[in-house]
């Protein structure tokens, strides 16, 4: 009995410590953004979104699926072109869904990659999560939401639905929609079913 009391105290202590650390970190002014890259096309769009944001006030972290060499190449290229050559961080995670994988086995691989997402969140402590649809974003966002609930990170999700989604939302979009801070769509048709979404009057990237 007493043993459990000590464990509980320890957990509370750690959480309080994390919160204090979070406060001291945000004081420095730089916000941490975790950009979640998927396969080819998604990554090109993601980088276009990132390049519109001020590079000097953001500390950039990238999560990349492990089978995706192209995305890593695109990220390195983008970072090398930035005028403020600041440090950036890349994390590799197993893919949660290969194209044409069945939905049932997707559930298991998503759980599997979820385990890999916990250290990503612990290391990147994201204020902002930027995702534009790849399946990889689901386990990362879930991990981020848990740590946000514990007060470890700000973990606000910015979701941009792919421009390919004209009449129906992607699976990732449907799952992330209720938990996102800002949810952008690129075609107005989706507003009827997702009224909280933001449509800027045209394509975003």
């Amino acid at each position: 009995m007493e043993y459990w009391l000590w464990v509980l105290l320890l957990i509370i202590f750690v959480l309080v410590f994390m919160r204090l650390k979070l406060k001291s970190n945000t004081k420095q002014g730089k916000k941490r953004i975790l950009a979640i890259a998927g396969s080819g096309g998604h990554t090109t769009e993601l980088i276009r979104l990132l390049s519109s944001l001020p590079s000097a006030t953001l500390e950039r972290h990238y999560a990349v699926a492990d089978t995706d060499r192209m995305s890593i190449k695109k990220i390195t290229e983008f970072e090398s072109k930035l005028s403020s050559k600041s440090k950036y961080f890349t994390y590799v995670i197993p893919r949660s869904r290969e194209v044409a994988q069945s939905w049932l086995s997707t559930v298991f691989t998503t759980l599997f990659s979820f385990v890999y997402c916990i250290p990503v969140i612990l290391k990147s402590k994201p204020d902002i999560l930027l995702c534009n649809g790849p399946g990889t974003c689901i386990p990362i966002c879930i991990a981020a939401l848990i740590f946000k609930f514990l007060g470890f990170c700000r973990g606000e999700i910015i979701f941009v639905e792919s421009i390919c989604r004209v009449t129906s939302m992607s699976m990732s979009g449907k799952i992330i929609y209720p938990f996102s801070t800002k949810f952008f769509i690129q075609w107005p048709h989706l507003l009827t079913s997702y009224p909280k979404a933001i449509y800027l009057g045209g394509r975003i990237c």
Partner: protein, 163 residues
């Protein structure tokens, strides 16, 4: 020189490459005044045979790191329905003819090309209607794709997070 650039993206689309290089299609392209054809045929089985004569040439390649140069040099781009290709071509302000792979008709990737066609940004056909489309299409009526709202997006994020 009036040139056409054909692209199938990272996939293969043998039916398109075969149709484009067929005799009737080559004649149709020449009728419209095109005398230089460049074909990016990806991982297709059907290899493009180079043709070069004084008034007409065909050249093929599988992949390149960037096809931006080929797009910039073209007067007309004939592309598969892939979102990346469509947006790259329209973003470069080029006339675009999308040829849909009927085998992928239900694929949601095609949704975008269809919508862009409905909005008048591109011409849309299948391999079997390519010939008649080339003869009848009116490229001057195509509507330029508006600039993306990337700045507006950035403003939302900047003000929310006080960046």
């Amino acid at each position: 020189v009036m040139s056409v650039f054909v692209t199938v993206g990272t996939t293969s689309f043998d039916e398109l490459v075969e149709t484009i290089t067929s005799r009737p299609l080559q004649k149709a392209l020449q009728r419209r005044g095109y005398n230089k054809v460049t074909i990016q045929y990806g991982r297709g089985n059907y290899e493009v045979k180079d043709v070069s004569s004084a008034d007409y040439s065909v050249q093929g390649f599988r992949y390149k790191d960037s096809i931006a140069g080929d797009i910039a040099n073209a007067d007309l781009v004939i592309s598969h329905a892939g979102a990346g290709s469509c947006l790259e071509v329209l973003g470069a302000g080029k006339a675009l003819l999308v040829v849909v792979n009927e085998k992928l008709m239900d694929n949601h990737q095609i949704e975008l090309a269809k919508q862009l066609y409905n909005d008048g940004h591109l011409v849309f056909c299948t391999c079997s209607t390519l010939l008649e489309t080339l003869d009848s299409m009116n490229l001057t009526s195509l509507v330029k794709l508006p600039e993306p709202k990337t700045e507006e997006f950035a403003q939302h994020i900047i003000s929310h997070f006080a960046l």
